[in-house]
Structure formats: C-alpha cells, structure tokens
C-alpha cells in the first residue's frame, strides 16, 4: 500500500501549492506532479555495458493572475524551497503581458470517469532478469546470420510512474503507468562495408513484450538485407513506405494539425477542416482510451477527458488536435489533446494516432510496383511545416517487377506533404502499434528520388 500513501502525499503537496499560490494573489492555478523509477540495462558483445537505475520526481506549477500566466517546475520538494518556488512563479506571471485567451478550462468540462485502461503493469523486473533478456536478444541476433560481426548492443528498460494533476477549479486526477522495452542493434559487414539496423518491442504490460529471440532475429533480418546497398539514378517513381516509416508520415500530420501550428499560421493544413485531404479509403483515428496503448491516459494535460475521434474520415479532415487555448484561438472546443510536460504550459498533440488498415497485403502492394522504391529508413529533418515541403535522406530497396531487387542508400526522397497525402494509392493490412503513432504499409503514387 506504499503506492497509495505516496499518492496521498503528492496530493497534499499539490493542494498545498494551490493554496499558497492563491495567498500570493493568483486567481487560478494548476499543479502537475510526476514521479517514476527506471531501470535500464545495456549489454554489448555478450557482456554488460551499462546499468542505470534512478528514481525521480518533479512538479510543475502554472499560475494565473487574471490573464497573465507563467509556468515553472522543480525537483526540489523541500518546504522552504517550495515557498520560494511559488513566489518566483507568481513574480514571473506578473512580468508577462495579458493574454485575453489564457485560462483554465471551464468547470464542468473535466474528466469525471477514470476507467482502468490497462496502462499500468506492477511487474518489477530484477536487474539480472533484464540483463538476461538483453543478452538473449543480442545472442539471437548473432546466431541468426554469420554476417553479424559487431553490435551496438541490446537494451532492456523498465519504468513505472505516476501523474497527478490538480487545479483551483477542484479537479483532481491521477493515474499510474508503466513501460517495458527491449531492443537490439546488430552490425553486419561484408567486403562492401558495414550496415546497422535495429528492432525493438515496447509494451505497457511485460507479458506482452515480444520474445528476445524474435526481436534479435528480426533485427538481424533487417540489418543483413542492407548489405551491398548502392545509389540509384535520379528519377520520379512510386514509393512504398514500410509500416515502421509510414508512421512518420502520420507524425508530420499530427504536427500540422496541432492547434498551435494552425493559429500561428505555421501549418500547411490551415483552413482545411472539412475538406478532402486524402483519397476516400484513408481513415485516421486518435484514440486516447485505447486499452493498453502507449499514448493512452484517462485525462489530458488539462484534466479534460480523452476519447476516440476520427481525425480523417474517408479522406476528409474531421478534426484538429486542440487544447483549450489553441481551440479558443481557432474558435473551437478542446479535443482533449492537451499534451504537457511538467512545468510547461500545455500544447496539443496526439494520443494513440493511427491509420485504419487497408485491404491489400503488403506483398501485394509490392507486387503492384514495376519500378520504384521501398523505403525502410529515413534520416534528416527536411520537413517544412509551413509549406509542407518534404525532402529526407532515405534507404531501403529498389523494386523491379514487384520484387525487392537490391538495397539502396544515400538517396533522398522529396515531395510536398499536401500532395503526398493526396497521392496515397494503397494501404496495407499490417497495422501494429509500436509507439503512440502507427501506420500500416503505405504506397504513394510518385515522389522525386535524388541519387546518381
């Protein structure tokens, strides 16, 4: 029952801060407290490389003096220092300019139900157990192919934590979550040089984590297939995004749909609400209450209930991602997407964001391309959110007559995200959540590929 006692302690700390802020003259305030513990194990070449263990806590306070506000955070919970902390936060708020839109959500909007969403698994892994999992994953990677000659290691992490949010409108919510992950990064080499790739599993429940052997084998499959990669001539061709990298296309969509990017004029999707932005077989959801999801939580960073909503339905843009502030700026209600790190004012972001799988098997998508690119890796930051211009380093495979012909690297793919979403031609059946944003395999009709 120590966990419960801890929760009560932090609740007391949070409410104490709200009281102190009010005494300093704050007209409204909210407090977020987070604590957690992590154990991280890295092994390399069959031996332990690094062990990291930590327990940490942090609290964030946001105060309002009418329409002026400021946020602050600290890891020092001692009584004296919190007294000073509240005073400094209040002083900071009074140094900024009034913002007519600022404020907490109205009473009556807050989350009232806190269902069990399966995001906390109390399993405590021992250090030796995590070392064993990581060693097995790396061993499996080496065993799977003799061309694996080196390794950047394998890592097994476990963490658990709690979030408490309280505000001066009387909202008080808390939840616990956990995460277990296992990854391995083998290096393959041949006369042509070295290549690396990796594979990983991550889940909120330890029992659902993929086996170390399966993760190791998949890491090796992905790594050795890159050996012998070469450039291709500059051209325009169809591009298939493997499911792992297709999630990135959805990530950029999230960025463009954030209320903050929209009201600042910094999104290429301004004014597109209700319009067709993709073909009619494209449907995208954001689901904050998907059981066990890595983005799942009962309430958002402002205490509003999370929910499942269609963001793109049959190609039509149905919703932005909004918190109270950015919603007001756009004349819309919050969508329960306030995302917040301790001590920052909220921003807007996805919960579990995914594209609904299509009806074509990934191998049939491949078979549909006579000559084109199958992308398995992207690097670089060549995305302009204001214009949608997109240009990134890529590697993967050249496709000839519906089959992977040879690995390619040191090329770029370029286009514009507005056109890229409109150009989605096929969607695979293979949706797997390995993060908060997930996509099946996606085929785009055409992109510019720069190479030789």
């Amino acid at each position: 029952m120590t966990r419960l006692i801890g929760e009560q302690d932090y609740t007391t700390v949070a409410q104490d801060l709200l009281t102190r802020a009010a005494k300093q003259g704050a007209t409204a305030a909210d407090v977020m407290v987070a604590d957690g513990e992590t154990l991280s194990v890295q092994v390399r070449m069959g031996a332990v490389d690094r062990l990291t263990k930590a327990r940490e806590k942090r609290l964030g306070l946001r105060v309002f003096f009418g329409q002026r506000s400021a946020s602050a955070s600290t890891s020092d919970f001692s009584r004296d220092s919190l007294e000073r902390f509240v005073a400094e936060t209040c002083a900071l708020a009074q140094a900024v300019v009034e913002d007519p839109v600022s404020g907490l959500p109205e009473p009556g909007q807050y989350a009232a139900d806190f269902p069990d969403l399966n995001i906390h698994d109390p399993t405590k892994l021992q250090t030796d157990q995590q070392i064993d999992l990581a060693l097995r994953a790396e061993r499996a990677a080496f065993a799977a192919d003799p061309r694996i000659t080196n390794s950047e290691g394998a890592e097994c992490d476990s963490s658990s934590g709690r979030i408490i949010l309280a505000n001066s409108h009387g909202f008080l919510g808390h939840y616990a979550n956990s995460s277990f992950s296992l990854s391995v990064s083998p290096i393959a080499s041949d006369a042509g040089g070295m290549q690396r790739d990796y594979w990983y599993g991550v889940d909120r429940a330890f029992a659902k984590l993929e086996s170390p052997e399966a993760i190791g084998r998949e890491a090796t499959r992905r790594t050795v297939r890159k050996l012998g990669a070469r450039k291709v001539p500059t051209c325009c061709a169809p591009v298939i995004f493997e499911a792992e990298v297709a999630g990135g296309l959805l990530g950029h969509l999230c960025g463009a749909l954030s209320g903050y990017a929209l009201y600042k004029g910094a999104s290429f999707l301004i004014g597109q609400l209700g319009k067709q932005i993709a073909p009619d077989f494209v449907t995208i959801y954001d689901d904050g209450r998907m059981p066990g999801g890595l983005g799942t939580r009962p309430f958002d960073g402002e205490g509003l209930p999370t929910r499942k909503q269609a963001v793109v339905e049959r190609g039509r843009l149905m919703s932005y991602l909004l918190d109270t502030y950015s919603g007001k700026k756009l004349g819309l209600p919050s969508t329960g997407n306030a995302s917040r790190s301790i001590g920052e004012s909220p921003s807007a972001g996805p919960t579990n964001f995914y594209m609904v799988p299509g009806t074509t098997r990934p191998e049939d998508i491949l078979a549909s391309v006579k000559q084109g690119l199958y992308v398995t890796d992207l690097i670089g930051f060549g995305i302009n959110m204001v214009t949608g211009d997109y240009s990134r380093g890529a590697s993967g495979f050249w496709i000839e007559n519906g089959e992977l012909a040879y690995p390619v690297e040191e090329i770029t793919i370029a286009g514009n995200l507005t056109q890229m979403y409109a150009n989605i031609e096929m969607i695979g059946t293979d949706l797997v959540f390995r993060g908060r944003i997930a996509s099946p395999t996606v085929k785009l009709a055409e992109m510019t590929i720069a190479g030789n």
């Binding site: 490389d49 930590a54 900071l92 770029t412």
Partner: protein, 478 residues
C-alpha cells in the same frame, strides 16, 4: 556568487568529508574509475507571438549522478535528493556493476586546480536580469521584424537562459567545479503573399548574458535576418535533384563537418569499431586543403567549457590535418580503454545522464581561396548559406542536412533562391570532394544542439566558404 563558489561542496549541502566517503564507497578495488557529478541548473524562457510576450517558464533542477566503471562496463545511478543517505544509495547502485561489497576507505579529493582561464566570466546579475528586460527586448524584435516588410504576418521569438553550477569529484583525486551560463535568442518570421506562406528563422547566443544581445542592438539584427529569410523564400524556386557541385557559405554550414566527420571520430564508436572511420587514423580522408579541429577553448562560445564533465580542461584537438586523419575525441573511459590521450570531450546532458565523448566547437581552418572565386568556379550548382538540421548514420557514414537558405549558381553567378534542398553524402568520401577552401573562416551564431543517445548538449561549428565538387542534392525538380 563568484566563480570560486562552484568548486565548493557546501553549495550542494555536502561537506568534503561526505563526498570523499561516498566516493570511497563506490571505488572498491575492482572499480577502475568512479565519479560524483553534482549539478544545480536553473533555466528561464520567455516567448513572444502575435506581438505579446505571453509565455514565461522557469525550471529548477538539481541532483547528483554517481558512476563507476569496470573495464568496459559502467554502473550509473542518480538522485534528485542531495543528502548523504541518497548519495550512498546511488553509490551502492552504481557499484553493483563491480559485483563487490562497498568500500570503506574515503577517497581523498585534494586536487582543486585553480581555473587557469575563464572562458565565460560573467556577473551573476547579468544572468538574473529581470524578466521585464527580456520582455522589452522581445517586443522590440516584433516591431522591427514587421517594419522590415509588410508581408511579415507573424513573428515568434524566444529567449532562453540557463545557469548551471556543476561540481565533479573523481576517484583520481580531483574536485573541480564550474559555473556555465548559456543564453539563446531565436526569432521566427512567417511571410505571406498571395496565399504563399514561407518561414524564416535566425538565432544565436553563447555562454553569455543579456548584454551580448543588447550590444549594438544586435537583437534587432536577429529580427531583420529572420524577416529577410522569410521574404526571400517567397520567391524561392524548387530545389534541383541530383549530383552537382555545391558551394557552402561560412559559419553554420559547418554542420557538415559535425555530421560528416565529427560523430564518426568520437572515440566510443571507434573503440567499438562501429564507425565508418574506424582504423583510418593516418589515412587520407579529406583533400589536402582540409584541416579540421575540435576546440572547446574559445571564449564565450556555445560549445566551449572551462572543464569537461569529468573535470578535464577542454583543449584544441586536430582531427584532420591537411587531409590526414589524426585522431579521436575522448572521454576518460574511452581514452583509457584505447590507450590514447584524454582530450577533454567527456560531456553529459545533466546529472541524469552518463558521460559520452562529444564534440565542442568543430570547424575547418581557413584556406587560401577568395570566396568570390569559389562561386565563379561553378558552372551549374548550388550555393547553400544556412541550414536547418542534420543527421548521420555513423556505421555507414551516410549523412544528410537540409538547407534553409540556398541559391542556384549559374555560370559562376548566384541567381535564384531555392527551397527544400537536402544534401546527402558519405562521411569518409565527402571531404575528398572539397577542392577549394576560402580565407573567410566564420564560426556559427551559437544555435547548435547535438543529440546522441538521447542526450542534448550545446555545440558550435564553423566553416570558411568551401567548394564540394560532387554531392547529391535532394530536391523535387528531377
């Protein structure tokens, strides 16, 4: 507070004796090296948009990281509670890797080298300057950017300051502290004309305070530069795609060196032989006109440090001399395992992170060519003067970086601005393609942040104007 206070354990509520005992608890015979890293960090950020400074945030963090290394192994634990009890718990956890009982003999930490130089002397009052002064500065930026051109529709600016006090006590008997100020001002403008919206950004800073931005009203220049970039992009054409000669302007384009060469020369990757540069010391990896250094000793620069996070004074390390690869940048662990010198490049994001060999300020020395001649030498190519960010896969050496300001070169003349140009190349190959180096070495404005293993640290880069004979440009115009 004076600089000397940074080396005083009482700053963190500890006595010398308590630190020596905790260090002794970790440093059992099986442990090769151990250290305790204490940190207090206070940061403040104010930001402006739509003409009002509506956001202010502040963050205070403190804690201690305890590390023990045994051969290649590292045990690490940290605590945000600074009490002898928590320190001992962290010490016992870090020592777990040595598979040994705790030590009982305190490790004396008597060496307290007087800081022979101070690369960023500061007056505490500059760091704690009133929030209102920062607000005034941001408001002036908004006015200046909008005045630059009526097509500027939105101006966003933020001013971040950080004040970090660190103290490291090591099992080789060293106790050394430092105060590390850091400031950065960033301006972003959005221009709009006939439905065409474009963005321009400009930023800079270093281990300096508000006075740096106020000097000669430098902050107004930041505003004009961001506005100029946004307006310029309104007339930009699509970038070409394919292999062509590229001229890089001086300063921030030095990010090429950071991605293409620098990461590949960090000692950890080379000890593990996972870098494309492994085993290439003494070999020709660049053309003879290239000499590249990493230098942590430049006054006030963003990437500079009096001492690294293991207490080693930073230095100037020659990475490539007239095209020949000379050496790696190291922290204590990798230097010991590889039997090579410690270069003062052991860095960590905070007490919550382990030390890794990281770059400080990485740049190419000036050459002899006239920058104008370099541009004139190109018949058809690209002239890139500013970049967003870059990334590298150190195993195969493939890197990319994205231009935010670039122009076509046609018949030796700079012509149209282009947008969306990404450069991609191979680290071990690209510097062999450098055929001309300008005499105009410039360091960047102080905006660089480098990511590695999830840890971000401030860095600097620099470059004279250079010509790369062949590199792949990733644009949309095939």
């Amino acid at each position: 507070m004076t600089k000397d206070d940074s080396g005083v354990p009482e700053r963190f509520g500890m006595t010398d004796r308590e630190i020596e005992q905790a260090l002794g608890r970790v440093k059992v015979p099986a442990v090769d090296y151990a250290d305790l890293y204490f940190e207090y960090c206070q940061s403040e950020s104010v930001s402006m948009e739509e003409g009002i400074v509506k956001r202010a945030t502040k963050s205070i963090g403190q804690g201690v990281g305890v590390r023990a290394t045994v051969g290649e192994k590292t045990g690490f634990a940290y605590s945000d509670e600074l009490t002898p009890k928590d320190l001992n718990i962290a010490a016992d956890t870090a020592r777990y890797i040595a598979d040994s009982g705790r030590g009982t003999e305190p490790v004396p930490v008597t060496q307290r080298p007087a800081v022979a130089r101070d690369l960023y002397p500061h007056d505490r009052t500059d760091i704690e300057v009133a929030t209102r002064d920062r607000v005034t500065l941001l408001n002036a930026i908004d006015v200046e950017a909008r005045r630059y051109d009526p097509r500027i529709k939105n101006v966003m600016a933020s001013y971040n300051t950080e004040y970090k006090v660190m103290l490291v006590a090591t099992s080789d008997g060293l106790m050394v502290g430092d105060i590390q100020p850091l400031s950065r001002l960033q301006v972003t403008c959005i221009a709009e004309e006939n439905g065409n919206r474009q963005i321009g950004t400009f930023g800079g800073g270093g281990r300096i305070g508000l006075e740096y931005f106020q000097q000669d009203r430098r902050y107004l220049q930041f505003a004009r530069e961001a506005a100029r970039g946004a307006i310029l992009n309104l007339s930009a054409v699509d970038a070409p795609a394919g292999v062509m000669p590229v001229v890089l302007g001086g300063g921030w384009p030095g990010i090429l060196l950071h991605e293409a060469i620098g990461h590949g020369l960090e000692a950890d990757f080379n000890r593990k032989k996972t870098s494309a540069f492994s085993n290439l010391v003494g070999k020709q990896v660049a053309s003879e006109v290239c000499t590249i250094v990493d230098d942590g000793t430049l006054p006030f620069r963003r990437g500079s440090l009096n001492v690294d996070d293991e207490g080693t004074p930073t230095s100037r390390t020659v990475l490539i001399e007239r095209g020949i690869l000379r050496g790696y940048i190291t922290d204590k662990l990798n230097a010991r395992l590889m039997g090579i010198p410690v270069t003062g490049n052991g860095r960590r994001e905070s007490y919550q992170s382990v030390v890794l060999p990281r770059m400080t300020n990485t740049f190419m020395l000036a050459g002899e060519s006239d920058p104008q001649d370099i541009i004139k030498s190109v018949k058809k190519g690209l002239y890139a003067v500013s970049f967003g960010g870059g990334q590298v896969d150190i195993t195969n050496g493939k890197f990319v970086f994205s231009a935010s300001e670039a122009y076509l070169i046609e018949d030796g003349q700079i012509t149209k601005p282009v947008k969306g140009a990404t450069l991609i190349g191979s680290g071990p190959e690209i510097l062999k393609q450098v055929s001309m180096v300008g005499h105009d070495l410039k360091l960047d404005e102080g905006i660089g942040t480098c990511g590695k293993e999830g840890q971000s640290v401030p860095v600097g880069v620099g470059l004279p104007t250079i010509r790369i004979d062949e590199i792949t440009v990733g644009g949309t115009k095939a």
